[in-house]
Amino acid sequence: MDLIWEGLRKALELLLRMDPEVLRITLLSLQVSGLATLLSVLLGLGLAVLVALNEFPGKRLVIALMNTGMGLPPVVVGLFVTVLLWRNGPFGFLGILYTPAAIILAQCVIATPIIAGLGLAALQHLPPGLRLQILALGATRTQLVWLLLKEARLPLLAAVMAGFGGVISEVGASIMVGGNLKGSTRVLTTATVMETSRGNFDVAFALSFILLVLAFSVNALLTHLQQRSQRR
């Protein structure tokens, strides 16, 4: 128990002191997971719209696959991405293994199905007549998609938060494809694992608290957007 207080104290100390290493790790976590979430929003919502607005054979299977993808274990994603990015592997020519780009890629694979799955559920939950109504008013296809997304914005933002929460907190993929390199790919979760194995429990707790505050801040911002749109 004393360790937790010690960690809280250490977290405050590191933040007040503007410890450059901790700031860099924190900023990198935010950048990597933020970018991965942004890309996943584009891919995931695109996929959700495609599946929601089209009827095709095997649609249920696709939906089942998307829903299964929501539970992809990060360590499995990490293993696949690592082997694919190995310099002697099929995508070795990219040369991005053990760089932040590799972490973004792996986190995209983790977050896209989450956002796609929840996004699809949000779109399917809209009243079935709504689409016909919008089209009857003469909307183009782009306008239709925009209006539908707007109508479902509340659960869609929840999907974005779930995606961000999934990647900012994962460690299995980040440590495998990033390598936890100091000053380059060390993010909050991988640093926490390392400090724990070094026995620096106070620093590990401090990093955990910073991670929680970061996750809270981002989600508070998104919640603000979500609830503000609700009031109108």
């Binding site: 950048q31 970018l35 942004l38 310099r87 070094r198 749109s229």
Partner: protein, 284 residues
């Protein structure tokens, strides 16, 4: 929320996330991938040596700290440039098989047997083999790393030498985790375990595990540096690997290794060996 607010937020977010880190990657020939064991990283040794190497040579080292088993597997596939590991049998196999070249001794420390202060198996004052036999005879809980690391390989060798069937026994459990984690679990479960001295010393204050057995020649823990064979893996950074290996066995670095840990832990964590390569002779 209207469209322009949304776009403004999106723009602000995108700007704050501008991936400046994606541009700054150095060219591949300046990067050295070092696959090593957790003990060199967790003890803090690499944190002390790598900045020195990077400053001297201009190379950037990517340290992948994993168990020796995984480090050697990466070498076998040409996915690392240079290895710093402590699993002699597997190292020799790697060199014999042609994936590794120029294996050189860097340093050693030793393994120690730690356990609950009460020492229910009474292993103090016995040889390593006898200690293992007593642990088995009293069915005292023993924690194995179980992760193909150098420490795990050493432990398996000791069980074999003691002639004890240990697999599947209720008193024999595998953590599958690194040394630091395994020591923490051993403290909680009042179990015996085999540890490298470096990690143990670095963590000693946080553990409730005294050293119960040490000093047996069978418990020597030797670290070698091995370059990945560039003839087999053309993508390997041969020059960088050679530079790192040369650096590790160079006089000033060996002197640093000798000093490392004294101020923090009261005794050195590693003993430099590059000057006396004959120490490795005859060891399997």
């Amino acid at each position: 929320m209207n469209r322009s607010t949304f776009l403004r937020w999106g723009l602000a977010l995108a700007t704050s996330l501008s991936p400046c880190f994606l541009a700054a990657a150095p060219p591949a020939e300046r990067i050295v991938i070092l696959a090593t064991t957790t003990s060199t990283q967790d003890s803090g040794l690499l944190d002390e040596l790598l900045p020195l190497f990077e400053k001297q040579t201009g190379y950037q080292v990517k340290t992948i700290a994993v168990g020796s088993g995984q480090a050697i597997a990466m070498g076998k596939r040409g996915e690392a440039d240079v290895l710093l590991v402590h699993s002699p049998e597997a190292e020799k196999a790697l060199v014999a098989e042609g994936s590794g070249v120029n294996r050189r001794i860097v340093m050693h420390n030793d393994f120690i047997l730690v356990g609950p202060a009460a020492d229910p198996a009474g292993i103090a004052k016995h040889t390593a083999a006898e200690s293992f036999q007593r642990i088995a005879a009293t069915k005292s809980l023993f924690l194995s790393r179980g992760d193909n690391s150098g420490t795990h390989a050493q432990e398996l060798k000791l069980w074999k030498a003691a002639g004890i069937p240990f697999e599947g026994q209720t008193w024999y459990q595998q953590t599958g985790q690194g040394m630091g984690q395994t020591l923490a679990i051993a403290t909680e479960k009042k179990a015996y375990t085999l540890s490298d001295r470096g990690t143990y010393l670095a963590l000693r204050k946080k553990l409730g595990l005294p050293i119960l057995h040490e000093g047996d020649p069978a418990l020597r823990n030797v670290y070698h540096v091995i370059e990945v064979n560039p003839a087999r893996f053309p993508k390997a950074n041969a020059a960088g690997a050679r530079a790192f290996a040369d650096f590790m066995v160079s006089k000033p670095v060996q002197a640093r290794i000798k000093e490392f840990g004294i101020s923090l832990y009261g005794s050195p964590l590693f003993f430099p060996d590059a000057e006396v390569p004959k120490l490795d002779a005859g060891r399997s």
